[in-house]
Amino acid sequence: MHDSHGARLLLVDDNKVNRLLLARTLELAGHRVSAAENGRVALAMLRKDGYDLLLLDIEMPEMDGFQVLEQVRGDLALRDVPVIVTSSLEGLDNVVRCIELGAEDYLTKPVNPVLLKARIGASLEKKRLRDQQKELVRRFAAPEVAQDLQQSGFALGGKRVRASVLFADIRGFTPIAEAQPPEETIDLLNTYYTLMFDAVAGHGGIVSHIAGDGLMAIFGAPVPLANHADAAVRAALDMIEMMDLFNVERRGVDKPEIRIGVGVASGEMVAGYTGTNERATYTCIGDVVNLAARLEQHTKEARRAILMDAATRETLSPSLAPDPLGAVTLRGKTQPVDVFAL
């Protein structure tokens, strides 16, 4: 985080007098300034060092300002850098074109120093707010979802994807929670979730919901995953292994062991944002999701840690050989489904 003073600015102008003058004006305003003499050099510098703001001339040889604007807006890593165009190009259509290409502002040369200072201050403040929002999204959403939001914007509704869904839950959580102070339960949950999130992220999945002691994870959306079923099952195995290690620790301090159940199902579902425009969440909807949740519930009766459906079983790599448990009529389902256990 920075305030408007002491920001790192990159200034691009092919004309030496303009470059010297703008650099001087900006330095007097307390900024740190680097300069480039054409668009190509400027883009390389932007990609290499990160700047808080770009001051861009339009009329330049090699790569002009319009081309720089297009490249900056098309580059995920650069598109949030505010660009102020400083130009003496004639014609309103050029101003319009710059703004349409995403320039924050357009100042005519010779640039009035007071105006320049005010525009830079305003642009940096807007960037600071955007950075803050991005930080919030990062904290409350999976990185893949945050990136999807940044790339495609937010819109309620979904699209059909092929993916795997994983549900995990602590067995007998209520008696554990009742037998200890709530502070200890929070600590337990935080440790548990840290381990579960690691297992999911380690195999390319995202955690879409957490509620109480349960979590739902998606493999294959919003970013497609080559073998999502295999990834989900491997994440489930990691979860069990992590809980085993955690239980060694808990036994050492005379705490009850924590057991979890995991259900995995695969197939076509709808992935996207549900909720309202004010409050929404990224999730998947469909029979496959319900099936995964039912499989997870069934781990209690089956007395197995991991259960999966036939679609998941089909694409598993041969090193994972789950036991067939036969057709089971799961709670809430009318038709029996083939269930496999690890």
Binding site: N15, V17, N18, L20, R24, E59, E90, P110, P113
Partner: protein, 114 residues
Amino acid sequence: MADAIDRGTFDGLVETTGEDFVGELVDTFLTEAPAMLDDMRDALARGDADRFRRAAHSLKSNANTFGALTLGALAKALELGGIAHARDAGGARIDEASAEYARAASALKDLTRA
């Protein structure tokens, strides 16, 4: 004839960026501007419209920075009229800008030497 340098613009520049700095900036301009005029002539001879427009554009931008408003206006006419406009006049418009540049350069030298 109007003054080659508009004192209001020039003094404003000195006030906001400092006298020593403006001295250096004028030196830079006096080094670069003849090349812009040469560029225009060369681009006209070769029929390179883009290069012609860019050179006129740079000269206009720099002239206005120092308050060389007459030179700025001549360069702007060259930028907007482009190579066709300059060709019609057989290069006379560049000569006109050149002469005005000489006048502005000498005034700028006087101002920064003082």
